[in-house]
Symmetry: C5
Subunit: 353 residues, 5 copies
C-alpha cells in the first residue's frame, strides 16, 4: 500500500493546500453514480466509496459525481481506486487552482471554474469543478454543495438523446458546456448592470456610482482570470491531443472553443466600456466643478465691486461732496446698474450665461 503513505505526506506539503473549507462533515458528501448506455439508464445515490466502486464495472459509461468536497478521505479512496497521482488529489482538494488540463496517461484531468452572479451584492462567485475523464468513466468533483449538474442527468434520462449514444468524452463535453453556458448568463447580467450604471451616470451620478463601477471592474478582473485559461484547456481538448477524445466529439469541443472566444471578446468589451465609464465619470466631475465655479464667479464678480461702491459711500468722512448731492443716491444706483450690465455683457461674451 504505497499511496496512503503518499497521502500522509500531503500533510508535509505547503500551507496553500488546505483542506477545503467547511470540511466539518455537517452535510455528508453525496456520491451519485450514473450508469448508462444507449438502452439503459441508472442513477444511484450511494453512501460510501466502497459501494460506489462496486458499481463501476458493468455498463459502457459510468459517471461518479462527488457533490461538495467535504470528505477528503472519500476523495482519496476514490482517487486510489482510479489510480490518481497524489498531486492530482491535492489539486482536486485545493480549490484555488487555475483552470488547466493535464494528461494523466490513461485519463485526462480538467480543472475549471463554475461562475455565478449574485444579484444582491453584484459579485461573481466561483466554484471549482474537477473532472477526471477516462475511457469509460467520468469523475466529477464539485466544490460546493448544490445540484449543478441536474440538467445533464435530465438529458441523460431521455432515451435516444445524442448524449446516450456517445461515450464518456461527450459526457465530459456536456458538463464543461454546461459550465461555460453559465459564463454567458453571468455576462448577460454584467451587461445589464453596466446599462444600469450607464443610466445612473447620465442622470445622477454619485460617488456610489463610482464605487459600483470600480467594483464591477474588479469583478471582471476575476472573471477574466477564470475564463482566460479556458481557451487553452478547451483548445487542447478540441485539437484531440489525447486519444481519449473521439473525432466525433472534437467538433463539439471546437464549437465550445468558439464560445470561449466570444466570452473573452465580451469580457474585453466590458472592460473597455467600464474604463470608458470611469473616464466619463471623472470628466463629468470636472464639468460639474466648472459649473459650480462659474456660479460662484458670476455672483462674486457681480456683487463684490458693487459692495465696494456701497462701502465707499458708507464711510463717515466729514467732507464727502457726493453725500450732499441732491441726486447722489440716484447717481450710485446709476453706477450699480452700469457695472451690473457691463458684467452681464462680459459673461455673455464668455458664454458663461
Amino acid at each position: 500500500m504505497v499511496i496512503p503513505a503518499d497521502m500522509a505526506e500531503l500533510a508535509e506539503r505547503p500551507p496553500e493546500t488546505p483542506a477545503p473549507e467547511g470540511a466539518c462533515h455537517d452535510a455528508p458528501t453525496r456520491l451519485m453514480v450514473v450508469r448508462y448506455d444507449e438502452k439503459h439508464y441508472e442513477e444511484l445515490s450511494v453512501e460510501s466509496v466502497e459501494q460506489c466502486l462496486s458499481l463501476r464495472d458493468a455498463p459502457p459509461v459510468v459517471w461518479i459525481d462527488v457533490d461538495a468536497l467535504r470528505d477528503a478521505e472519500a476523495v482519496a479512496k476514490l482517487g486510489e481506486a482510479y489510480g490518481l497521482h497524489p498531486l492530482v488529489l491535492e489539486d482536486i482538494l485545493t480549490t484555488t487552482q487555475r483552470p488547466k488540463l493535464e494528461d494523466l496517461g490513461g485519463s485526462l484531468f480538467v480543472v475549471i471554474k463554475m461562475l455565478s452572479y449574485d444579484r444582491e451584492t453584484h459579485e461573481i462567485h466561483h466554484e471549482q469543478m474537477s473532472l477526471v475523464i477516462g475511457p469509460t468513466y467520468v469523475l466529477s468533483f464539485q466544490e460546493v454543495k448544490g445540484d449543478a449538474f441536474a440538467p445533464i442527468r435530465e438529458r441523460l434520462k431521455r432515451a435516444g438523446a445524442r448524449i446516450r449514444r456517445m461515450g464518456a468524452d461527450y459526457l465530459a463535453y456536456a458538463l464543461i458546456d454546461l459550465i461555460v453556458d453559465g459564463y454567458f448568463d453571468v455576462l448577460e447580467q454584467v451587461g445589464e448592470r453596466i446599462e444600469d450604471l450607464e443610466d445612473a451616470l447620465v442622470t445622477n451620478s454619485t460617488s456610489e456610482t463610482l464605487h459600483a463601477i470600480h467594483h464591477l471592474k474588479r469583478q471582471m478582473i476575476f472573471f477574466r482570470r477564470a475564463a482566460w485559461p479556458l481557451r487553452e484547456v478547451i483548445g487542447a481538448l478540441g485539437r484531440g491531443e489525447s486519444r481519449m477524445i473521439h473525432q466525433e466529439t472534437r467538433v463539439y469541443l471546437r464549437d465550445l472553443l468558439d464560445h470561449t472566444f466570444q466570452i473573452m471578446d465580451s469580457v474585453d468589451t466590458f472592460r473597455d466600456m467600464l474604463s470608458g465609464m470611469l473616464d466619463m465619470y471623472l470628466s463629468s466631475l470636472s464639468n460639474r466643478m466648472n459649473e459650480i465655479m462659474k456660479v460662484l464667479t458670476i455672483i462674486a464678480t457681480l456683487f463684490i465691486p458693487l459692495t465696494f461702491v456701497t462701502g465707499l459711500y458708507g464711510m463717515n468722512f466729514r467732507y464727502m461732496p457726493e453725500l450732499e448731492w441732491r441726486y447722489g443716491y440716484l447717481f450710485v444706483w446709476g453706477i450699480i446698474l452700469l457695472v451690473f450690465l457691463a458684467m452681464l455683457a462680459y459673461f455673455r461674451r464668455k458664454r458663461w450665461l
Copy 2:
C-alpha cells in the same frame, strides 16, 4: 433519418442559442435561387425549400440566398439537403457569432458581419451573414430582411462579366468583397463624424461633445470586434488552405486581405484620434477652469482689500482723526487708486491680464 433527431436536440442546448428575433413569420423568408454559367443567367424567387432544391442540379453555379432568418425550419431543411452539421445550422441561426471560417470537408462555412452606419443615432448596426461555399454552389443567409446582395445580381446579369466566367468561389469572394466595402463606407462616415466633433471641440465644446466622443469610441470598440477576426478569415481563404478556392480567385482574396489591413489601420487611427480628442476635451476643461478662476481671483483680489478700506472708515468710533481731515476722502481715494494700480501691475507681471 438521423439529423431531425439532432435538430430536436438543439432544443436541449444552452439559452445563448435563441431562434433569431422576429422569427414570428410576419414576413415570409424569401428564397432566391440564382443559376448561371458563362452563357446563361436565371433568377428565381421561390416559396418553399423543396421547390428550391429541385432547381439546384443543372448549371455550373447555383446561388441560394436566404433573406432574413425567420424560418428556422426552412434553414434546417436546406442544411439537411446540403449535409450541414447541426452545429453549423445552430451557428447560422445564432446571430451573435464571431466572424469565422470553418472547413466542413466538402464545403467552407464563413460567418461575417455586415456593418452599416445610422446617420441619425450615429450607431453602427451589424447583421450576420453566413456563407456556405461548395464546389458549385453558394448558400447565403442574411439575418435581416433587405436586398443587400442586389449589386452582385446586377453584375451577374451582365453577360461577359468576369464573375460569370468564374466559379462559386469567385461568387463567394464577390459577396464578401461587397460586405467589406461596406466597412469602408462606415469608416468614411465615422471619419466625417470625427471631423464634426473636432470642430465642435475647438469652437464650443459642451458635455454633449464629450458624450458623443465616448459614444463613438464605443462604436469603434464594436467595429473592431467585428473587423478583427476578418483578417484570419480572409487570410485563411487567400492562403488557399482549401482546394475549394481556385488559384485564380486567391489573388483577389489576397487583395481583399490588403483591404482588411487598411480597415484595421483606420480603426486604430480613429481610436488614437478619439483618445486624443478626449484628452483634449479634458485639458480644455482644465484650461477653462483656470480661466474662470483667474477672473474670480482678479476681481476678488482687487476689491476685497478696497472694501476693507471703506469698511475701516465706515466705523463709528467717536475719535477717528482721519474722518475729520479736510482731504480725508481724497486721501482714501488715493489709497484706493494706489492699491488698484499695484494689483494691476502684479497681475500683469503674472501674465494674468
Copy 3:
C-alpha cells in the same frame, strides 16, 4: 484581348477605388524614359505610351517614370504592355494603399509612401509611389506632379557611378533609398518642432501649445502608419526571397532596413516625448491653478476677517461701549495688525509665501 474587358470591369468595383484626384488632365501625365548601361546614358521625355514602349527593348536597363497619375488610360496601356494584373493597376491608381510588396511572378510590385513636411501648417504630406521591378526594367508611378526622382537621374548621368554598373534592382533600391531618406528629413523637422514646443511649454504655454502638441502627435500617428509596413517591405526585399534581387544589392537593402529600424525608433521616441509633453502641460495647468488659488485664498483669508471687524464697528447700535473709548480706533488697528501678522505667520508655515 482579355485585359480591356478586365479593365472595364474595374468600373464594377467598389467605391474605395477612385480615379486619382485631379484626374482632369489639366497638366498632361509626363512619361520619362531613361535607358542606360555602364557606357551609355539616354533620357527621353515622351508624350504617348506607344512611343515609350517602342523604346523599351535595347539597353540593359530601362526606367520608365510616370509623373502624376492623371492619365489612367496611359497607366492601363503601360500595364498591359508589361503584363500587369488588373488588381495591380487598380492598386497603382488607388492612392490610399498601404505600403506593401507583392511578387508578381516575373516582377516585383512595391507600394511606398513619400513623405514631406510642410513648414507652414506643420503637417506631413504623403504621396504614393508605386514601383514595378523587372529583370531589366523599373516602372515608377508618382501620385503627384513634381520631379522627385531628379537626384537619381543626376547620379545616373555620372559615368562610372556604381549605379550605372549595376542592374534594375539597384536602381529600384536607389529610388526607395531616396524616399526613405525623405523620412529622415521629416523626422529632423519634427524634432525641431518638438524642441520649439518644449521651449514654449517652459516659457509661456498657452492652449495653442496644447493644440500644437496634439496636432503633432496626430501627425506622428500618420507617419507611423506609413513607416511601419516599410520594415516588412524592405526586409522581404533584403532577405532576397525573389531572385529579381541580386546578392550584391541585398547588402544595400539590409543597410536600408537598418535605416527603417532607426526611423521606427525615432518615431517611438517622439511619441513618448510628445506624451510626456502633454503630461507636463496638464501638470503645469494644475500647478498654475494652485498658484491662482493660493493668491485668492491669501487675499480673501487676510481681508475677509478684517472686513468683519470693520463691519462690527460700523454698526449703529446706540449702546456700543467700544465706540466711545478714547483709543477705540487704535484698539481696532491693533486687532487688525494682530490678525494680519497671525495670518502671515500661518501662510509662511504652510509655505504659501
Copy 4:
C-alpha cells in the same frame, strides 16, 4: 592549478560583482552536510571546506548547505572541488542576479530569490538562493544567515518519507518548492494589506493612504521582477531538458510550474487592484473638492448679494428716501428673505442641497 589564477582574475572584473555585504566574518559561514539514503540519515555541521569535502563520497545523496555567503574563499574551494566555472562562483557571490537556470554539463545551476514580507515596514525583502544540482549531490548557498531550510531537514529525518526514497533532483525540487511557498505567504500578506488600504480608502483616506498604495505598488514591481523569470526556470526544469531530472520528479516540477502561474496571476490581479485603488483615490479627491467648492459657493452666493443690500442702506447719502420709510427696515428684510429663498430654490434645482 588553473582555477586560483582565474579566481585572482575575478578581481579584474567589473564593480557590479562585489563581495557580498557583511563579508567581515563577524559570524562564521556555517557549512552543513546532510547525507542520506532510504535507510540512513546523517547531519553534520562542519567548520572547514576540507572537512566537508571528506564527507561527500559515500552515500547516494549529499546536500551541502552554505549558510550566509560571508566566506568567499570557502565558496571558491567548494566550487573548485565540484569543478564549477569561475563565472558560476561569481554568480553565486553576486547577490543581484536575476533568477536563472544554467546547464553546466555535469550539473545544473539555479539562482532563485527567497522573498519575505516585513510586517513593520510593509516591504518585501529578498535573499538570493543558489543551488548546484548534481547527480548525487545538491549544493545550496544562502545569502543571509538564517536557517531557512530547516523544514526540509525535518522531512528528511522522517524515515519512509518520499523525499528519502528519491534522489538529489527531488531534494532540489523540495528546496525550490519551499522557496516558492514563501511567495504565497508574501502574497497573502499583501492581500491583507490591500484589504486594509481599501477600508482606509472608503472610511478616511489621507495622503498617507496614497503613499501606502504607491509603496505597495512599488513592492509589487519588485515582486514581479523576482517571480517572472521563475516560470522559465521551473518550466525548463519540468520539461526535463536535462537528464539530471528524473521522470518521476518532473511531475512535481510541473505542479510547481502551475504554482508559479498562480503567483503571476495573483501579482497581476494585485497590480490591477492597486491601479484601481489609485484611480479611486484620485476621483475621491475630485469628489471632495467638488463638495468643498459647493459649500463655499452656496455660502458665498447666499450672502454676498445680501451683504450688498445691507451695504446699500449703510450709505450716508443725505437724500435716500427708503431710509425715512416707516417700514423700510421690514422692506429690506423682505428683500433678504426673498433672495434667500430664491437662492435655495436654485440650489435645490441644481441638486446641490
Copy 5:
C-alpha cells in the same frame, strides 16, 4: 582600384551620413596598435595608417584602436586594408547608428553605444563604439577622444592574465564587457537621482521636481533605446552563430547576456518608478489644492455670514428697533458666537478641522 570610387560615391549618399562632428583635425586621430600573445605584449602609438598596417602581421592577436573619428580618410584606408565594405565604413563614420551585429563573412562588425552620466546636467551622454572582430585582430573605433579602453590595456599588460591566453574574440568580449559595465554605473547614478527626487517629492515638491522627473524619464527613453538592441547583439554573439567566436568565449558572452537582461529589468523598473512618481506628484498637487480650498472655504464660510450680520446693523434706517435696544450690541455678539460655533461644529463633522 575599385574601392576609392566607391568611397567617392559615399558623397552621393543621403545627408543622414555626415562626417563625424569635429572632423576639423584640431586633435589628430590617435592610432594605437597593441600586439600580444601569451608571452609578449607590445603597445605602439602610431601616426599614420601605413605605419599601423606594417605592424599588423606578426603576432597572434593585433588590436588597432582608433580614438576619435576625426580622420575619415584614415578610417577609409584602414577599412580598405582589412577589406571592409563601403557601407560598413559609412556605418562606422555615421555616429547615429543603432547597436547591431553584422556578419561580414570573414569578420564580425559590432556597433554599440558607450553611455556615461553627467552629474551636472543629469543627462546621459552616449558615444558610438564600432568593433571589427577578425580571426586574429580587433579594430575598435571610438567616436569621441578619450582613453576609454585603458583598463583593458592594463589587464593585457599583466602576464598570465586569462585575456593574454585567449584570442581576438575574448579581447572583443572584454571591450564589450567594459562598455556594458558602464551601463551599470549609469543605472546606479540614475537610481541615486531617483532617490533624491523621491525625497524632494515627499518634503517639498516644486515644479522643478516635476521637470526633473520628466527629464529623467526622457533620459531613460534614450537609455532604453541604446540598451534594447544589445540583447540581440550579445545574444547572437553568445549563440555562436559565427565560427569567429570560440566555444570558450561563448560562456562569457552568455554571462554578459545575463547582464543585459538585468539592465533591461532595471530600466523597466526605473520607468515604472518614475511613472509612479509622476502620478504621486499629480495627486499631491490635487491634495494641496484641496488643502488650499479648504482654508479658503472655512474662512469665507465663517466670516461672510457674520459680515452680513454686521452690515445689517450698519444700515441707516430711521426705524430699526434693535438699534435702540439696551443689549442690542450684546445680542449681535450672541448671534455671531452662535453662528461661529455652529460653523465650527459643521466643519468638524465634515472632518475639515
